[in-house]
Each structure stands twice: as structure tokens, then as C-alpha cells.
């Protein structure tokens, strides 16, 4: 039987990161979310200890900012000590969020079992088991928050270079990089082909927040993604890879979900609902379905109601959606509906309106004309926002078409009395 190596590949802990995109958290949930990332990290540590892995690799972005809080620094150091007590080493590199420069004055002394790949040049470590070389590690992180366009972050990291630097050979070799690979061309991009040619058994990468593997059957380059989604865009399960390398066998990586709170964006069709209660029931069913898929304890959802329903005008009334949302949040404390968005439409037959040739037809023409010329819309918005003393937010600018559609529906609702006209 060939020799075997097992380790946890984690990255993008983003300790201290705020949850973005939420609009109205209850105090309890705000508290819950503040603890979610540190808890997720604790789960990574627990998983490493429970699986008695050889080491833990963290491929950058341990802290969300170069000015992380004291509590987070202490938490990271404590975690490294916990791993050390269990005989597990930690190898980590720095990321664009916590570049090398921010680590130079780290105030918490990490245990000697925690090894940082320096950022100014490739660094190598030898991991031994029972005094025998087991794994060569080579890696590099971010020196400051941006990576030079002219330099390849993986340059100089190869099995051969590691053997030369460490003066020994080992059955396994693992590369650790904070890179955008070919997935994010702005952040230290790197051609996967280049990495395949370096003789490493596995490249543990960080930066991309979504779990990714080049080959699920025999992963050689992988991103573990964030350990806890912290944005309404980072939906679905998040965690780390438990990687097992064995001589003469394909690489094996098992995903360990670590997020204690999972984000879900639910689009709930309420066409069939005849009352608000039915709407609520439909949402709850959707929540349970999503929860069943996500394998998580707690879930933050953003629910968008869709479909054509006569309830549209009721849902448009001020306070109605808030009431429904609060009702939902009261019913199941493990689900938190952060926002309930009404994207339902009144049963309005636009074609018929156009045929009638009355004001709505004129309006639809005007809306159409505006949609055809989004640049004009942008200019108009920019003007109006400047009057407020601010530039047009980029995301709003990007969404002009979508907003135009919504504006059309808004006006139609007002005109046809299908929305809230007060």
C-alpha cells in the first residue's frame, strides 16, 4: 500500500467580514451572524482534529481586512494552538485582504506549528511524519493588496524547486497559492496548464469564493471557497476540502460543509396563492425545500415573490410584506427571511391595453421608447443623482434596463389600480 497524506484545504476565512446585502436584521440574528464566521472556522478546526489530518492549508484571506479586530486575531491564534495540541500543523499564505504587510506586525504570537509562506518570494516547507519527509509544500501569498500584472504568482514554485530548497524529496508535494487562476483575471491570474507542469500533486488555491475543482474524480487544482457565505450572492453550502493523496491513486477530495448559516435566494411563485396566508405557506415550503438541499442548521433567505396574482395590489400595500416577513421569522427561528421582495405582477394584459389605444397604450409606448434608449435613462439618472449630491451608484447604473422594466410595472400598477395607489 502506498503512502498516504490527508489534509484540510481551506481558504478565504474572511474573519471579521461583515455580512453584506442584508437590510434589516433582528438583534438576535445580527448577533448570530457576527458569530457565524468564527464558528465556521471552529468547525474547520474541529473537522481537522476529528479526521486527524496531517496538516491544514489555508490559502489566503484569513482576515477580511488588514485591520482585523483583536478578537479575530486572538481567535486565529487560539485555533492554531488547538490544532497544535492535536499535533496538526498549519500552512498558510496571505491574500489580497490580509496581505503580508499586514502580518508583519501581527501582535499575537502564533505557535511554532503555524507556518506562513512569505509573499516576497516563493517559500517552501517540509512536512514530516515520524521524522520521515512526507510532503513538500511550496507557496506564495500577496505582498500587498494588489498583485503585479507582470508577475506570475506561481513562478518558482515547483516540486523540483521545493526539493532543491529543502534538500530532500518527499512522496507528496502540495502548492499553496492565493490566485484568481483563470477564473478571476484581475487577481494574480495563472494558467492551470502552467500549474500542471510544475510536478505538484495538488494545488490548494484561495481567492475564488465558490468551491471549484478542475476534475472532481482526480482534483489537482482546487478552490475551497469561503467557509461561510457572507453575501446574498454567496448562496449554497460553503466549506473546505478534505484532501487525501495516496501514492498510485487518484487524488480524492471530500467537501466538508462548515457554514453554520447558509444563504439562499428563493424565488417563490405565488400565482396559485389566494390569500396572504397561502403566500406565507408557499414561502415556508420553499424554505424547507432549500434547507433540505443545503444541509445547514440556519438559513438566511431573500425571498422574491413571483407570478401573476390578484394579490399583487395587496402585497404592494405598505407594511403588508413586512408583516408577512415578520410572521415568517417568528414561525421558524432557524430561518431568517431578510427581505421579502414583491416581484409579482397584477393580471394585466399588456397586449389588450395596447390594443385599446388608451392612455396605458400611450404609456407603454413611452416606456418602450425609454427602454430603447437606456443611455438617455442613465444620463437622466446621473443628473438627478447629482442634484442629490452623489454620483449614480454603479450597480444602479448597470441595472437601468431592469429598473426601467420595474418602473413600467410600477406605473401600470398605479394607473390600473393594481398596485398601491396611496
Amino acid at each position: 500500500m502506498g503512502r498516504k497524506l490527508s489534509f484540510i484545504h481551506a481558504a478565504d476565512l474572511h474573519l471579521g467580514a461583515p455580512f453584506r446585502g442584508l437590510r434589516a436584521l433582528s438583534d438576535a440574528w445580527a448577533d448570530r451572524l457576527l458569530k457565524a464566521i468564527p464558528e465556521a472556522f471552529d468547525r474547520v478546526v474541529d473537522a481537522a482534529i476529528a479526521r486527524a489530518v496531517d496538516f491544514v492549508v489555508i490559502a489566503g484571506d484569513i482576515f477580511d481586512t488588514s485591520r482585523g479586530s483583536y478578537a479575530d486575531y486572538v481567535h486565529f491564534a487560539d485555533a492554531c494552538r488547538r490544532l497544535k495540541d492535536a499535533g496538526i500543523a498549519v500552512y498558510f499564505c496571505t491574500g489580497n485582504h490580509d496581505p503580508y504587510t499586514s502580518w508583519q506586525n501581527r501582535m499575537v504570537d502564533l505557535p511554532d506549528s503555524a507556518h506562513m509562506f512569505t509573499a516576497d518570494e516563493p517559500a517552501f516547507f517540509l512536512h514530516e511524519r515520524d521524522g520521515e519527509p512526507l510532503c513538500l509544500l511550496g507557496g506564495r501569498g500577496y505582498y500587498n493588496q494588489t498583485w503585479s500584472h507582470t508577475e506570475n504568482i506561481s513562478e518558482g514554485i515547483s516540486r523540483e524547486a521545493a526539493e532543491r530548497a529543502l534538500g530532500t524529496t518527499a512522496p507528496f508535494a502540495v502548492g499553496v497559492l492565493h490566485t484568481g487562476l483563470h477564473l478571476d483575471r484581475l487577481k494574480a491570474p495563472c494558467d492551470p496548464k502552467l500549474l500542471y507542469a510544475r510536478g505538484m500533486d495538488y494545488w490548494a488555491c484561495g481567492h475564488v469564493h465558490q468551491p471549484w475543482q478542475d476534475d472532481a474524480e482526480n482534483p489537482r487544482i482546487a478552490f475551497s471557497g469561503v467557509i461561510q457565505g457572507r453575501d446574498i450572492k454567496e448562496t449554497g453550502p460553503r466549506g473546505v476540502w478534505h484532501v487525501v493523496l495516496e501514492e498510485g491513486m487518484p487524488n480524492k477530495a471530500t467537501f466538508i460543509p462548515t457554514a453554520s448559516v447558509v444563504w439562499e435566494r428563493l424565488f417563490v411563485d405565488v400565482s396559485d396563492a389566494e390569500s396572504l396566508t397561502a403566500v406565507e405557506e408557499t414561502i415556508v415550503r420553499a424554505q424547507f425545500r432549500a434547507n433540505g438541499d443545503a444541509h445547514c442548521e440556519e438559513m438566511v433567505t431573500r425571498v422574491t415573490l413571483t407570478g401573476t396574482t390578484p394579490l399583487h395590489s395587496l402585497l404592494q400595500r405598505p407594511g403588508v410584506l413586512d408583516d408577512v416577513r415578520e410572521g415568517l421569522n417568528r414561525r421558524y427561528p432557524v430561518f431568517f427571511c431578510d427581505a421579502l421582495v414583491d416581484a409579482t405582477a397584477a393580471p394585466v394584459d399588456e397586449k389588450a391595453l395596447r390594443r385599446e389605444g388608451l392612455f396605458p397604450a400611450t404609456f407603454l409606448q413611452a416606456a418602450e421608447a425609454q427602454r430603447r434608449n437606456p443611455a438617455l435613462g442613465r444620463a437622466l439618472l446621473q443628473d438627478e443623482f447629482l442634484k442629490l449630491g452623489m454620483t449614480l451608484p454603479a450597480r444602479t447604473e448597470r441595472a437601468v434596463e431592469e429598473l426601467s422594466d420595474e418602473a413600467e410595472h410600477l406605473v401600470l400598477d398605479l394607473l390600473l389600480g393594481t398596485g398601491d395607489a396611496s
Binding site: P18, L34, R67, S69, L358, E384, E408
Partner: protein
């Protein structure tokens, strides 16, 4: 569905209670009644039911019945199905009581539009308030929408205003959210600074801990030093005391010694020096010698005694013989005389010699010439007398032979004995001199030859010697005590020197001048210096400990401090809401643009139609005197007379003005036929200012309006009722 007002029930309004007005029909209705029959009351009641009772204000008649609430209801009927819908109102606060369907009938008309366009009085017709607005409202409203585009626009405007409001309650206002975000960001920055401070504190703690250890080490050393110094100080004091004691002791011993020496000297002065220092053997020898001398002298004295006894016996025999002869011969006195002469001549020289020799000796000894001369004299006398006695003795006796012989024999014996006695006594005297010489030679001269005395002297001397020995012993004791004390003193000095040397080193280390003497006081100074140092150190240590404790507490609290994260989360939420508000604002802006452009488009299409219609109506009413009504670009109305002259409505006569606005209203109401379909047009004696021709023209115009809408005309003039009936024979007349 074509609904119309079928009847009105006045439950309580003005002076009426439980009064029914109606039934009305679709199309033209005329309500005829005399003054105070309740025409205006009925019109007001309809308006009140639909849009709320007029609030009590000033002196206006609000139709509030005495001691009752206003209440009324309207019954609408569907022209096609005959279905009735009742709407009613009691208290304003309860609002309009209507089924959903009934409410829908009235939804597209607001109070202002109703008052301006539907409820017409003579006064109302003088003008058309906010013409462009109302025009737009009606024109766009009559266009297949539930709410007028103008209303929609107003709502959009209102929402836009809410999103830029600075009012504290406007939670979604971009202005407020930005302000809040700015505040939060400032607080996040503060919290970040606090975090940096905490890290600095952590660093400080890491630096302070070794500092504290060093301080503690120094303190420990200093404590040991102080302990040592304190002990040294005590030792030094004790040594100094010991030295002082010993010095005193030595002095004391010295004084004791001199006392003893003085006593001994004074004692020794009273002691025979010759005997003072003899040893026991000499003493024994002397005593033996004395014993021998006593024995010898006793023996000699005994010999003298025996000789004297013999002599006395022979002398007595001789004298007895002589005495017996003298009695017989008379010769005896001569012999006796001779014998006496002999004795005298023998004894006296002997005595003289015996006295002269010692006198001579003493004189020689004392170098006294006189005593020596006396001695010599005595010796000479004794010799002379002895010679004389010898002459006398050897003078021939003249008495018988026998007697002579006898006498001779007796005398011989007697002489012999005498001689013997003399020899014995001389021997004794010699011996005594020998004794005296011996005694003098042996230092017992003071005994004056007396052996007893000499023995007493010896005894005294022995006693004195014992006494002297005692003195010597005392001296020795003192000397040995002194030696011991001096030994101890030396030791003490030695200890002190060692101590002083050690202290001198300590003091030099402490910075004192190296050659200043080390005294108990200087050690105390040093000790005070060290103690002050220790106190200073303790103070520094206390400070460090305090700071460490403080930092530990701060850092412990910082471990669970989430203020930074909380603020970031809160800022993120406000950012989200701001983003949403920006989106909503953009959406509303786009909606507003679409809506205004649609309204403009719609107006440009339908307005000419309305004004053409209004122009026709006005021309009909004025019999061609006025030809056209126009809306200027500035939104002001102008009228054109048959000479194409343009006038502003303010320059028209009252009647013409009313005709203008009636025409305009009818044209608008016809154009906006979908708006307020079920709501009747209430016209309260609006034609009173019209001349007969124009009244007919107006009546025809109303008839035209009544084709599309229910029109209820209230009048107290019979001729008006007749005119209307002429114009529209089918009209529904309701009499009050």
C-alpha cells in the same frame, strides 16, 4: 356595467331626517322644488356621502342636524342588470361604508375633481381652478385607467420626495441613509482605531511582562541586600557594644590590678623582706635550726644550773666550815671576809665582763664609740678586779694544818665548782651570742636573739607569705581575665574589620566615596538608600502590575468585543438599504419620465379634441358670438370671438364666462367618459345668469352630456324645468 345613482336617502342631514330623494334615472334628471325644499341639501348630502362631511369651520353651514350625527346613503343601480349597490356614511371617521364593488365605482374620482367637475353651481362656473391640472387629470383619466395618470404622477412625485426627504421619520430617504452611513463609517473607523489600540495594548502587555520579571528580580536582589545590610548593621552595633563592654571590662581589670598591686605593696612594706620570700624548705630548716638552738641552749642552761647548784653546795659547805671555825677562833671572820672578798673579786669581774662584751659588740655594731668604750671599760675593770682577787686569794693562812687542809679542800671544791659554773655560764653566754649571730645571719635579727621571738617572726612571715600568695593569685586571676577580654576584643575587632570591609564594598558599589569610614550611621544611610531604592522599585513594580492588570482586563474584554463587527454589519445593512433606496429612486425617476412623456403624448392627442368640442359648445350657447376656446402653451385659457379676437376669460361678462367654463367642463366630462362613470353630475341652478337663448343652448349641451353621463339638475324655477323638458322630453322629473 353602467351604474347610476338611483336614489338618495338622507338619514340625518341639515333639517332633514329619513328623507328619500329620487328615484333618479340614467341620463338627464331634473329635481324641482321650491326654496327650502332641500335641493342644495340633497346635492351637498350626495357630496358628503361620497367624500366626507364638511368639517365644522367658521360660519359655514355644514348641515349638521341639531343633536344628531349626519348620515346618509346613496343607492346606485346597474342599468343593465338592475343590481343595486348602497353606499352610506355616518361618521367621517368610519369612512364610506360600501361593498368592494360599490367602492370600485367611486375609486377613480377624488374630492377635488368631484367638486370642480361634477358638482356645479353658479359660482363654481365662473372659473375652472387649476385648469391644466384638472384638464390633464380628466383627459388622461378618461383613458381606460383606474387612477388618473396625473394621480399616478403625483404618487410618483410623492414617493420621490419621500426618498429625498430630510424628515427624521423618512427611514428610506437616501439623504438620511447616506447621513447614517457616513456616521456609521465614522464609527467603524473609530472602532478600527480602537482595535489598533487594543493591538498596541497587547504589544505593550507582551513587553511589560519581561520588564516586570526583571523588576521582580531586582527587587528580590535588593531585598536580600537589605536583609544582609540590616543583619550587618545589627552585627556592627552588637560588635561595637561588645567592644565597648570589653574595653570597659579591661579598664576595670586594670584598675583592679593596680588596686591589688597597691595593696600588695603596702602589705609587703609591713613584712620582713628577708623572710618574705623564703620558701617552705628554708622555713622548715630555720624552724629546725631554732629547735636545735633551743635544745642546745636548754642543755647549756641546765649545765649552768647544775654547776650553780654544785657551786652553791660547795660554797655553802665552805662557808659552813668557815662559819664553824670563826666561832672558835676568831679566824673565821677573817676567812669569811676572805671568802667574801673572793666572791666579790670573782663575781664582779665576771659580771663586768659579761656586760662589757655585749656592750662592746653592740657598740661595734651600731658604730657607737661610747658604748664600745663602756664595754672596753667594763672588761678592763673586770680583768683588774679578777687580778686583785687572785692576789688576795693566794695570801698565806695562819691557821691549823688540818683545818687548813680541810679548809683547803673545801675551798678547792668550792673553787672548782665555781670555776665549773663560770665555764658553764660563759659557754651559755657564748651560745647565746652564737644564737644571736645566727638569728641575725638568718634575718631574724629582730628577734633580738630570742628564739621564741624568732619563731613568732617566722610564723608572721609564713602568714605574710600566704597573704602574698593570695595577692599573686588575685593578680593572676585578673591578668587571665584581662587576657580573655583582650582576646575577645581582638576577635570583635577582627569581626568588625571584616564586616566593615564587606560594607565598604557594598557602599562603594552603592556609590559612596570609598575612603569614608564605615560606621553604624553610614550603614544606616546605605540601608536607607537601599530601602528608598526598594520603595522606588516597588512603586515601579506596582505601576507595572497595575498596568498589566489593566491591560489584561482590557484585552480580556477585547477578546469578546464585537463592536467593530457589529458596526460593520450595521453599516452593511444601511448600505444595502441605501442601495435599495437608490434603486427605488432611480426606478421612480424612470417611472416619472415615462409617465410625464406619456401624459404629454396623450394630452397632445386628446386636448385638441376637447377644445374643439368646447369651442362648438360655446359657439352654440353664445350663438356664434364666441367661436373658440384654446389652451395656451403657458396653460392659460383664451377665448376667440367671431372677429377672431382673443380674450382672457377674466374679460368676459359673467354669463359668457359661465358659458365658457360650462362648455369646457362638458367637453372634458365627455372626453373623460370613463372617469367617474357612476358619479352623477350635480348642477344646482347653474343657468340663472343665462339669457333665454343661451339658456336653451346650455340646456342642449347638458342634454348632450346626459347621453354619456347621469346629470341631475336642481332648480327652483318652473320655467327652467319646462325648458329642460322641452329640450329633453324623456327627462326624469323629481319633485321635492
Amino acid at each position: 356595467m353602467t351604474a347610476y345613482l338611483e336614489r338618495l336617502r338622507i338619514a340625518a342631514f341639515g333639517s332633514f331626517a329619513n328623507k328619500h330623494v329620487g328615484p333618479f334615472k340614467p341620463g338627464l334628471n331634473i329635481v324641482y322644488g321650491k326654496n327650502e325644499a332641500g335641493k342644495t341639501t340633497a346635492a351637498k348630502c350626495i357630496e358628503g356621502v361620497l367624500f366626507g362631511w364638511e368639517a365644522d369651520r367658521g360660519m359655514r353651514n355644514t348641515y349638521r342636524p341639531v343633536a344628531a350625527e349626519r348620515a346618509g346613503s346613496l343607492v346606485f343601480a346597474d342599468d343593465d342588470t338592475g343590481k343595486e349597490y348602497e353606499v352610506s356614511r355616518a361618521r367621517n371617521a368610519d369612512g364610506l361604508q360600501a361593498s368592494e364593488e360599490a367602492a370600485a365605482l367611486l375609486a377613480d374620482i377624488d374630492k377635488e375633481t368631484f367638486a370642480t367637475m361634477f358638482s356645479l353651481t353658479s359660482d363654481e362656473l365662473r372659473t375652472l381652478r387649476n385648469t391644466p391640472d384638472v384638464t390633464a387629470r380628466l383627459l388622461t383619466a378618461g383613458s381606460g385607467t383606474a387612477a388618473s395618470p396625473a394621480h399616478a404622477l403625483a404618487v410618483v412625485q410623492e414617493r420621490l420626495a419621500a426618498l429625498t426627504s430630510r424628515a427624521a421619520g423618512a427611514e428610506d430617504s437616501i439623504v438620511n441613509l447616506r447621513k447614517r452611513l457616513e456616521e456609521l463609517r465614522a464609527r467603524v473607523a473609530e472602532a478600527a482605531d480602537a482595535t489598533e489600540r487594543t493591538k498596541a495594548q497587547d504589544k505593550e502587555l507582551h513587553e511589560l511582562e519581561p520588564q516586570r520579571a526583571a523588576l521582580q528580580e531586582r527587587q528580590r536582589t535588593l531585598n536580600e541586600e537589605i536583609e544582609r545590610l540590616t543583619a550587618a548593621q545589627a552585627s556592627l552595633a552588637s560588635l561595637d557594644e561588645t567592644i565597648a563592654d570589653l574595653d570597659e571590662q579591661v579598664a576595670q581589670l586594670e584598675s583592679e590590678r593596680s588596686d591589688v598591686l597597691r595593696e600588695e605593696a603596702s602589705f609587703r612594706r609591713g613584712v620582713n623582706p628577708a623572710l618574705a620570700d623564703i620558701d617552705e624548705a628554708t622555713d622548715a630548716r630555720l624552724r629546725d635550726a631554732l629547735d636545735n638552738l633551743v635544745e642546745e641552749r636548754t642543755r647549756r642552761e641546765h649545765a649552768v644550773g647544775v654547776a650553780r647548784e654544785n657551786y652553791r653546795t660547795s660554797s655553802a659547805s665552805y662557808r659552813a666550815f668557815m662559819a664553824s671555825e670563826g666561832l672558835e677562833e676568831g679566824a673565821r671572820p677573817a676567812r669569811t671576809q676572805r671568802r667574801t672578798q673572793l666572791v666579790v673579786s670573782t663575781v664582779l669581774p665576771v659580771v663586768m665582763l659579761a656586760a662589757g662584751v655585749p656592750a662592746f659588740v653592740i657598740g661595734r655594731m651600731q658604730h657607737s664609740l661610747s658604748i664600745s668604750m663602756i664595754g672596753i671599760g667594763l672588761i678592763m675593770c673586770g680583768v683588774l678586779m679578777a687580778a686583785a682577787a687572785l692576789v688576795l686569794l693566794f695570801r698565806p693562812s695562819h691557821r691549823g694544818e688540818e683545818r687548813e687542809e680541810r679548809q683547803q679542800s673545801l675551798r678547792w671544791v668550792m673553787l672548782q665548782d665555781e670555776k665549773k659554773l663560770e665555764a658553764c655560764e660563759a659557754d651559755l653566754a657564748d651560745y647565746n651570742q652564737t644564737i644571736a649571730a645566727y638569728l641575725a645571719g638568718e634575718g631574724l635579727g629582730a628577734a633580738q636573739g630570742s628564739l621564741r621571738h624568732a619563731r613568732t617572726l617566722l610564723d608572721d612571715a609564713k602568714e605574710a607569705r600566704a597573704q602574698l600568695r593570695l595577692f599573686a593569685q588575685r593578680r593572676q586571676a585578673i591578668a587571665s581575665q584581662r587576657r580573655a577580654a583582650e582576646g575577645r576584643l581582638d576577635a570583635a575587632y577582627e569581626d568588625r574589620d571584616a564586616l566593615v570591609e564587606e560594607l565598604a564594598v557594598a557602599r562603594t558599589v552603592a556609590g559612596a566615596a570609598p575612603n569614608t569610614p564605615v560606621t553604624s550611621a553610614s550603614v544606616a544611610d546605605l540601608l536607607a538608600q537601599k530601602t528608598a531604592q526598594r520603595d522606588g522599585l516597588q512603586e515601579a513594580l506596582d505601576h507595572v502590575n497595575h498596568r498589566i492588570g489593566e491591560l489584561r482586563t482590557l484585552l480580556e474584554a477585547a477578546r469578546s468585543e464585537h463592536r467593530f463587527e457589529e458596526l460593520k454589519l450595521e453599516a452593511a445593512q444601511v448600505q444595502t438599504r441605501l442601495d435599495e433606496s437608490c434603486d427605488a429612486y432611480a426606478r421612480l425617476l424612470l417611472a416619472r419620465t415615462m409617465l410625464t412623456s406619456a401624459i404629454a403624448g396623450w394630452e397632445s392627442r386628446s386636448q385638441p379634441e376637447v377644445y374643439a368640442h368646447a369651442s362648438r359648445l360655446l359657439a352654440r350657447m353664445t350663438d356664434g358670438a364666441w367661436e373658440a376656446v384654446r389652451m395656451g402653451e403657458d396653460g392659460r385659457l383664451t377665448v376667440v370671438d367671431r372677429f377672431k379676437e382673443e380674450r382672457s376669460p377674466v374679460h368676459l361678462s359673467l354669463g359668457t364666462c359661465q358659458q365658457l367654463y360650462l362648455s369646457l367642463r362638458i367637453a372634458l366630462l365627455v372626453a373623460a367618459e370613463n372617469v367617474g362613470r357612476a358619479v352623477p353630475i350635480l348642477a344646482d341652478d347653474i343657468l340663472v345668469n343665462f339669457d333665454d337663448e343661451r339658456r336653451r343652448g346650455a340646456a342642449e349641451s347638458l342634454r348632450e352630456l346626459a347621453r354619456t353621463r347621469q346629470v341631475i339638475l336642481f332648480t327652483c324655477h318652473q320655467d327652467m324645468a319646462n325648458l329642460m323638458q322641452e329640450v329633453e322630453p324623456q327627462l326624469n322629473l323629481v319633485r321635492l
